[in-house]
Amino acid sequence: MSQASRKRGFEFYVLAAFFSLFVLFLYGPMLVIFILSFQGPTGGLTFPMRGVSLHWFYDLMTSGRYGDLGGALSRSMILGGLSMLITVIVCFFAGLAFRRRFWGASIIFYLCIISLVVPGILVGLGISQTFQILGLRLYWWLSGLGAHLSWTLPFGLLIMFAVLNRFDSSWEEAARDAGASAWKTLMYVTVPILFPGLIAVALFGFTLSYDEMPRSILTVGGSNTLPIEISNMTTTVTTPALYAIGTVTSVISLLVIGAAFASISIIQKRRARAK
């Protein structure tokens, strides 16, 4: 930060302007569709606003034109919750295991990397064909959940690596030396210390599943998740109802992100006070 300690020069303002433009680029379009989702009943897909109303939100809920949006939303929420729970538990233990060397560690690691690198729809095709060959039917809560886990687990593991990188395992050794059982060490030492990191894993687990589309298309069977419904709407719906559903789902995502950030910062503040 040696440069920063000097006087702010011309470059600072150029770079700051560039960065601000980028942030505007990142959030401007989203803000615009939030605003446009409150179009009046005669309003179109772009400005001008013809009045301000909740018409298009009401339209989403009451008209049957948009398919089973309520069902899709609840399925996406359930899938997000299940993916979050499974991702946190499975990745937590896998992360602990990866601290030691064991046979097969690199196979699992590379499977994770492959799952991230390969096009999502291909994983979906593979899962749906595997079900077909086994003679199983596709259900959103089974094959669909599996497809979501193939996406959330690798991310969860990578985040656990980062979390455990900063974890001092001498805390665990101290607990063991003091006579704590493996279970007690886990519950009273490891989990509490790593808790903020686990919240981060949970955030990824929920949001990546909640917004997942390419892997879901071929694996959810007959009942769609919300992102699939919305992506179908992009080609068929030409009213601000499209923005209204966008606003609804983004607000849900932002609430989840906000809750995760808030709980992490509360824990960290408490720890800082305890010191």
């Binding site: 989203m30 690198v117 593979g126 064909q129 909640y210």
Partner: protein, 291 residues
């Protein structure tokens, strides 16, 4: 640590801890991908799939003149997006790391760049529609400024809007890894270079860029694989006029030609892996990350 890692009990508990992960990854990724490889060698008449070996799926994909065009187009999209996201990602990280003095503000601004990652890509893409259409915001601004007399129709449903959406969606995958490697640069090195008489430009090109190689490589892997795996953005943002390898594969799937789709996908994955290996050749990411 070392005493535990060698004990049988430690190893046993490792296997127990990693078992659910291993089981899930094998059943959800390992086996399905093997099935896709097998599928690409099976026969179909468009209704039923016969589990008999054939090269014909690859032959028909490779002999089709469309295939080469699709691959070239996909690579073109990937490279253009890669160049733009690298420039934006590098510049933003450079600003955050070297020009934002307050550490808390620095992290906060980085978070501002990453929050969209946790929201829906579909919605983020949709949010460009009010901007780019014939009666969209850009056209009306340009017309009001008197720069154009007729609304531009190339803004939406063109290659331009596809690349714009890619840059919009994927730049944050570039910012985070570059920021990460840039913030690890020891300020003393830069101080030393300046004392030795290096100009700012020399410090940037001879010192900072090489030290960010790992971040740029990681980000490139993300961006290249994301663009090459996409079918949705290219479909919607080009209005169906442009196609990528995966969108063509999606068409095959919709017509129930699974084996051809699988063959195409395998070719794409081979290409992606070659590109990733090429990137890894330039930078040894695993070694650099352990640094």
């Amino acid at each position: 640590m070392s005493s535990r890692s060698n004990s049988a009990g430690g190893r046993f508990s490792s296997y127990l801890q990693v078992a659910p992960m291993a089981l899930l990854m094998f059943t959800l990724v390992g086996i399905p991908l093997v099935i896709v490889v097998l599928l690409s060698f099976w026969q179909t008449d468009g209704i039923t799939i016969y589990r008999e070996f054939t090269w014909s799926n690859y032959a028909s994909v490779l002999n089709s003149p469309v295939t080469l065009a699709l691959f070239i187009k996909t690579i073109k999209f990937a490279l253009i997006t890669l160049i733009i996201t690298t420039i934006i990602g590098f510049t933003c990280s450079y600003f955050l790391v070297f020009y934002v003095r307050n550490l808390k503000l620095q992290i906060g601004l980085l978070l501002v760049c990453t929050i969209p990652f946790w929201t829906s890509d579909v919605i983020r893409m949709v949010s460009w529609i009010p901007f780019l259409g014939r009666e969209g915001i850009f056209n009306s601004i340009l017309m009001r400024l008197g720069l154009i007399s007729h609304p531009l129709s190339v803004l939406l449903y063109s290659d331009f809007s596809v690349v714009l959406a890619y840059v919009y969606l994927f730049t944050l995958f570039m910012i985070v890894p570059i920021f990460n490697s840039m913030s690890k640069i020891n300020p003393n090195i830069i101080e030393a270079a300046r004392d030795a008489g290096a100009s700012k430009w020399m410090i940037l090109t001879n010192l900072i860029v090489p030290l960010c190689k790992t971040g740029i490589a990681l980000g490139s892997i993300f961006v290249v694989t994301l663009v090459m795996g996409d079918f949705f953005v290219v479909n919607v943002m080009s209005g169906g006029q442009s196609a990528s390898v995966v969108s063509a594969m999606k068409n095959n799937i919709d017509q129930l030609y699974y084996p051809q789709a699988a063959a195409m996908a395998i070719l794409l994955v081979v290409l992606v892996l070659l590109l990733v290996t090429a990137i890894l050749r330039v930078v040894d990411i695993r070694r650099e990350l352990a640094r």
